[in-house]
Symmetry: C2
Subunit: 428 residues, 2 copies
């Protein structure tokens, strides 16, 4: 058996402590599987004295994570600090330059600096792995990079933000408003310091951009992701969707088309009976579609100590076993620059708006839809409140461009109160 593989862990939050626990509890099992023992030699975090529920007294302590990254007795730096810049970036760069492999769970860092970091890793002959950055415990980076390596990938999709899924599920189950459940989630500590990361779709968008880079051999292009958050989804939308057999999920879709790379993260209606529609609470799902394999669906916990640490350890054990795959599945220098394209796969849309309750209002909306070439599948006017009439329309398949043109048109007529909501219906 080879020498032990030595980890330096930067960041001892939930995931870091999860990794410590696995290394301690499963030392023999992991050594048998990895072909060598894996041990932790040094750790770094903000506060040394905090009680973390795991014994870290046997490990060297570094106040400065960059110093940890450069230690001679560390082979793999496990970066679990988070954040797209600042210390996380400095640690990763220092580690790769010092000839260490890096395993991280940091989607923000990779979404913004993945290309430069992958190039640095490869020029130093080291691995940069990030299974834990996408969909927590689900081995989806591995499934895509390795399991589907013989496929031209057509499309990747995913529900990859547990907090959004929790909020939408809770709204539906308890019949509560977005605002109420958002406040609950905040109290429960489910939200990031900047909640837009979750409910604005940014975190999930980071993950989609990483999967797209692997799938299509393009440089990570987070800027190219069309983002729409869940903050405009109302309890009425959830009820109306439910009446028609749908649920609302924050769904990411990335596909390569003749016009370029489409990446979109937005709330969508999915059939209640579909795998995506059945996804409970904080569970994540990733859908991979390849030309040979067809559709592969992966489901599991998208966050949490155990699941995320499990993904970190998969990367660590891969490295211990000698696996050295480029971060995005092919040499970083060979990745194409993505040409972002606006998502315009033909889809049916759900439209909700509030009309002024006056003669001809609905006719103006119908006319505007018709002018934009959007045909109506179903239309319902709900119970009036004062002088406002909530109206619900499901269209036949059309493009987002046509839907937005129609919305502009009927909004211009002045019959609509507030801003209409338009959600695609994805038949996944």
């Amino acid at each position: 058996m080879s020498d032990p593989l030595r980890l330096g862990i930067a960041g001892l939050g939930t995931v870091g402590i999860g990794v410590v626990k696995i290394v301690q509890q499963h030392a023999a099992l992991i050594a048998a599987r990895a072909g060598r023992s894996i041990e932790i030699t040094a750790v770094s975090a903000r506060s040394r004295d905090k009680d973390r529920g795991a014994d870290i007294s046997g490990y060297a302590w570094e106040d400065d994570p960059v110093a940890l990254a450069r230690r001679a007795d560390v082979d793999i730096v496990v970066e679990l600090m988070g954040g797209s810049d600042g210390p996380a970036k400095a640690v990763t760069e220092a580690a790769l330059s010092a000839g260490k492999d890096v395993v991280c769970a940091n989607k923000a860092l990779l979404a913004h600096h993945g290309q430069a970091l992958a190039e640095r890793a490869e020029s130093n002959g080291r691995a940069l792995r990030f299974e834990a950055a996408v969909a927590g415990g689900i081995p989806c980076v591995k499934a895509l990079t390795e399991g589907l390596a013989g496929n031209a990938v057509a499309r990747v999709m995913g529900v990859m933000n547990g907090t959004c899924n929790y909020i939408l599920t809770r709204m539906e189950e308890a019949g509560l408003s977005y605002e109420t459940v958002f406040a609950e989630a905040d109290q429960l500590g489910f939200l990031e310091a900047d909640p837009a990361l979750d409910v604005g779709g940014i975190d999930a968008g980071h993950k989609l951009a990483l999967l797209a880079a692997i799938a299509f051999g393009t440089r990570v292009d987070f800027e190219g992701v069309e983002l729409e958050g869940i903050d405009r989804v109302s309890i009425d939308d959830i009820r109306h969707a439910g009446d028609m057999g749908y649920r609302i999920k924050l769904l990411g879709v990335a596909q390569m088309t003749g016009r370029g790379l489409e990446q979109r993260m937005a709330p969508c209606l999915v059939p209640k009976k579909s795998p995506l529609g059945q996804l409970p609470g904080a569970t994540n799902m990733v859908v991979l579609e390849g030309d040979a394999v067809g559709q592969i669906v992966l489901r599991g916990a998208g966050a949490g100590e155990g699941p995320t640490a499990s993904a970190v350890m998969a990367d660590v054990i891969d490295i211990a076993r000698g696996l050295r795959i480029p971060a995005f599945g092919r040499p970083a220098a060979s990745l194409d620059t993505a040409v972002p394209a606006r998502a315009r796969a033909p889809l049916a849309y759900y439209l909700r708006m509030t009309l002024q309750d006056r003669p001809g209002a609905l006719a103006k909306v119908a006319a505007a839809l018709g002018e934009a070439g959007v045909s109506i599948d179903r239309m319902r006017q709900y119970d009036h409140k004062e002088n406002f009439a909530p109206v619900l329309i499901v269209t036949h398949k059309t493009t987002r461009d046509a839907i937005e043109a129609a919305i502009d048109n009927f909004t211009a007529t002045g019959v609509v109160v507030g801003e209409p909501v338009a959600l695609a219906i994805q038949q996944v």
Copy 2:
């Protein structure tokens, strides 16, 4: 870039031709991902002249697959002939002994000879990989061996025989008898030459035994798999189960308990709304449960040219990328000998029997269940035919031992006509 990696393909049936097509169509894509080009140098099959829908004229032909396995211009032997002994075994042994890596889709071979072949591979420093042997295109061997490598695995489950799933789905949808649908499946060419491999659960049992070996670090123990086929599942069972919100699936469950390794492949009732219950037609599903990651569910095509060839190519590309993991995830010599244990997780059971329509018959059954310690959740007597009364019982959670004792007891009273059917209800 390194030298090309050269494949010799033994067996040019559906899967073999699928592999040829992928290698030909995606040469550039695969070279970019694998870091070296992958080419086919030689092929072998029964008949040279058959039209196979792919151009194999550029490859050397070997009538004898063992000769192919020994060719100096072959690095990886791809064994796609099938069969647990005979030529497939000879080719695999010859290839490993000649210092070639082997990729195969042959669950029967590995279920029977996996230990010896893994030892041979490792003593020669070669890889023996079999992603395609389990659940077709689903990268479940990889997910378990690598993705969950940091977990103590608690349980693995799977619906892994597409033919059985097709038969059960078709019976339900068309309301046809087992015999009718079996004949249809035979006509469509869905069945193996020996249909017991499919409907007897043997093929799925092979797959379960392979996953269990990886999950629990034990030598493959196919003999230890309790097998029950789908041939005793009637259209009435499917209807009764449906009335109660269940579907019937041929489900494999393997778990390590204090008493030993439980492996059972049998038709079970699963909730219609569960991921397993929603599985359509020939789709497979594998469920992996680890102590850190929780439950991971993988779904995809379990058979067919594209999906199976995709899995073969994943193994080939892994080897091209330098991955050399022992076949069962740890050195073969270190695998424990499995201690087979009878599956006895407490489960609710579905019992169907036909009683003679005479006073006290039902009371005798109820008494026999009570004596065996089995308590009844629901009982229904269906429409009589002549003097026979079909009776349906759902029990509270109990053990298989208790159920079988009860069946023995009430069968001995002489009130039962024919053989009762007992199916476990799995809340997956």
